[in-house]
């Protein structure tokens, strides 16, 4: 895992301000792919917060994960505008294709499947974000093609 000084460096990039905690957690996750739980006490110490406060913030937000995700991250929008153009069928297809449920990673560690509520692409739904890239008008066939293409 990230060595202790690097965590402190990330905090200091934000002047170790306690209000910058979300930015610090984002920076750590952007760099490592997840937020190792062992990092939380170090952050608390640097920001002069309690470990409970840091844990509270970390665990409240849907974005932050405490373990590495699959090699690929597939987020399927299941909010009501995409519902109105059939995203539930696409969601079911994703589960069957990957052999995994939403919120989980496929057994081979290849893909983490997540629900997201709105990607702001509501006129071109159904929408998915695969490895940070947004795709619109996604059908089951298009999803298969995206997953089959080299990462």
């Amino acid at each position: 895992m990230q060595s202790q000084p690097d965590i402190v460096a990330i905090c200091r990039r934000h002047d170790s301000r306690p209000d910058a905690l979300l930015e610090i957690l984002h920076d750590l996750q952007d760099s490592l792919g997840h937020v190792p739980q062992a990092a939380l006490p170090a952050i608390a110490a640097e920001l002069n917060l309690s470990r409970a406060e840091v844990h509270g913030t970390f665990s409240f937000y849907h974005d932050f994960r405490d373990r590495p995700p699959g090699r690929r991250m597939l987020q399927v929008c299941r909010a009501e505008a995409c519902q109105a153009v059939g995203c539930e069928a696409l969601a079911g297809h994703a589960e069957r294709r990957l052999g995994t449920a939403f919120g989980e990673t496929s057994a081979d560690g290849a893909v983490t499947l997540r629900t997201v509520y709105c990607l702001g692409n509501c006129a071109l739904g159904p929408a998915v974000m695969l490895d940070g890239r947004l795709h619109g008008r996604v059908t089951a066939e298009r999803l298969d093609a995206l997953l089959d293409a080299p990462a």
Partner: protein, 506 residues
């Protein structure tokens, strides 16, 4: 390479990217290189006619001529046609401003989206930017507040609260320092107008925030953008850097001696952080738990200091109001409603997208005049007038003006103006159940009526036959006793289905 460069405009807006705009850009660059053609490729925001993306425009002596939706395989032929003075091609759209969808709107706040390079400040200024800021710098703070008040501008986030009252309260609140927060956590499904604005014209937001800072006496501001919008985040970051480099942000704004510093803060996947007090908690680095009010955030906000929180779209109107005056804004609107609104239309229509039309437009007008009508094979059954919390109304009620104060008597509200059109292919029971599952997922957990109420509601709604009496009792508790709008409005879909779609309950 010989000859004058050909100028091509292609959006880099996320929606356009989602249907292949970057692949088209690559094809354009490759094709130009193959022909030895000097090329100037400008990546813009989107004009908002999203069913035509990727929409490629080519500069000709007759102005910019559009072609779309373009695929990489079309590029060679489109270039041939375009360079022949915007000539014929099956994908030719003509001048984009003349496309009926755009011609029927007055795209004022969106005026530069799809036109300018969003990160080019000189382009921004050439197209009218910075005039509002310079007008504000010449006024006393109280005069700026007065102008915003007189315009009748109401918050665009969903509550519709008069902006001028908020500004005056923050300006007069004792204490320092003060803060400006831009709420760019556009979490309601169906609405993406804010995203398009941030990606297409980020400078307009920055200009609005600086003006707000001058008006209330704040020297620091935060833009809070949801993490689900990575392109908007990247664009705003770059725009803020450009403003700083140009001396328009920092210790001395435009040589005025006044200071304003702007920080970008990312959300982290919590819908509740679109609620202003939860957003302030999040900006303080904490869990997004809404606060009890009073005290209101204008008086006691970030770190207990007076804080002006405005939705991004509210702030977007501010530079124009300063530039053109309060009456200019107030005089727009129809059906006794003031001003223009951006309605985000999605669902079972042919041409979904963002429509900037007079406040008080009806659902029927949005479908038939601005969205190309219902999709083939779908008949209009009902609609969500205002995002997940605004209730669900039947097609028979599609002629009510969609504005603040018009829908409340029907148990509904226009809120974020995210209008989702539903058809006979949609089961309203399922629509309502999905909405309550969403609220259950996003409840912050702080208060029992919402935390337990949403969970219980989902279980009750998953029964084949709804216990409507119990659901009404639960709805009343949630509406009366939840701390914030999420819990208070969560019963709206339930009550809408029970009242307006009893047929779907069988």
């Amino acid at each position: 390479m010989t000859g004058a460069p050909v100028t091509i405009y292609l959006p880099r807006d996320a929606a356009a990217l989602s249907v292949g705009a970057d692949e088209v850009a690559d094809a354009v660059v490759a094709e130009a290189a193959r022909r030895g053609l000097p090329l100037r490729l400008v990546r813009t925001g989107t004009r908002g006619a999203l069913w035509l993306e990727p929409l490629l425009e080519i500069a000709t002596p007759d102005g910019r001529i559009g072609y779309g939706p373009v695929a990489p395989s079309d590029v060679a032929a489109v270039l041939d046609a375009g360079m022949a003075g915007g000539g014929p091609h099956p994908l030719r759209l003509g001048r984009p401003e003349e496309i009926p969808f755009l011609a029927r709107q007055q795209r004022l706040t969106f005026a530069r989206c799809g036109i300018v390079d969003p990160l080019d400040l000189a382009d921004y200024e050439r197209h009218g930017g910075l005039a509002g800021l310079r007008a504000a710098l010449a006024l006393a703070p109280a005069e700026i507040v007065e102008r915003v008040t007189a315009s009748g501008l109401r918050g665009r986030g969903g509550a519709g609260f008069p902006a001028g009252i908020k500004w005056r309260t923050a300006a007069q609140a004792p204490g320092a320092p003060k803060y400006i927060v831009c709420n760019a956590d556009e979490g309601d499904s169906g609405t993406f107008a804010d995203r398009i604005l941030m990606e297409g014209d980020p400078s307009l937001l920055i200009e609005g925030m600086v003006i707000a800072g001058l008006a209330v006496g704040a020297e620091e501001g935060f833009v809070y953008i949801r993490s689900e919008y990575p392109h908007a985040i990247a664009t705003m970051r770059a725009a803020i850097a450009a403003w700083q480099a140009a001396g328009l942000l920092g210790a001395d704004v435009d040589g005025s001696g006044r200071a304003f510093r702007l920080h970008l803060r990312r959300g982290a996947g919590a819908y509740i952080c679109g609620e202003e007090s939860a957003m302030i908690e999040s900006i303080e680095g904490k869990r997004g738990l809404p606060r009890h009010r009073p005290p209101y955030v204008s008086v006691n906000g970030i770190f207990g200091r007076p804080t002006l929180v405005n939705n991004i779209e509210t702030l977007y109107w501010v530079p124009e109001i300063l530039k053109k005056g309060a009456a200019w804004f107030a005089d727009q609107g129809k059906n006794d409603c003031k001003g223009l609104r951006s309605y985000s239309v999605s669902g079972r229509v042919k041409n979904p997208g963002v429509k900037l039309v007079p406040a008080g437009t009806t659902a029927r007008e949005l479908i038939e005049e601005h969205s190309g009508g219902m999709l083939d094979g779908h008949s209009f059954k009902g609609y969500l007038p205002g995002g997940p919390s605004g209730g669900i109304l039947p097609a028979e009620m599609a002629d009510i003006p969609l504005d603040f104060g018009q829908l409340e008597k029907h148990g509904s509200f226009v809120g974020s103006h995210a209008v989702v059109i539903l058809s006979d292919k949609d089961d309203m029971k399922d629509v309502a159940l999905n909405l309550l599952k969403f609220f259950e997922d996003e409840s912050c957990g702080q208060c029992t009526p919402c935390r337990n109420g949403t969970e219980k509601a989902v279980k009750l709604m998953q029964q084949p036959n709804w216990d409507t009496d119990l659901l009404e009792e639960l709805s009343a508790v949630m509406a009366d006793a939840s701390i914030c709008g999420l819990g208070q409005a969560a019963p709206n879909p339930i009550r809408s289905v029970m009242k307006y779609f009893p047929g779907d309950l069988k």
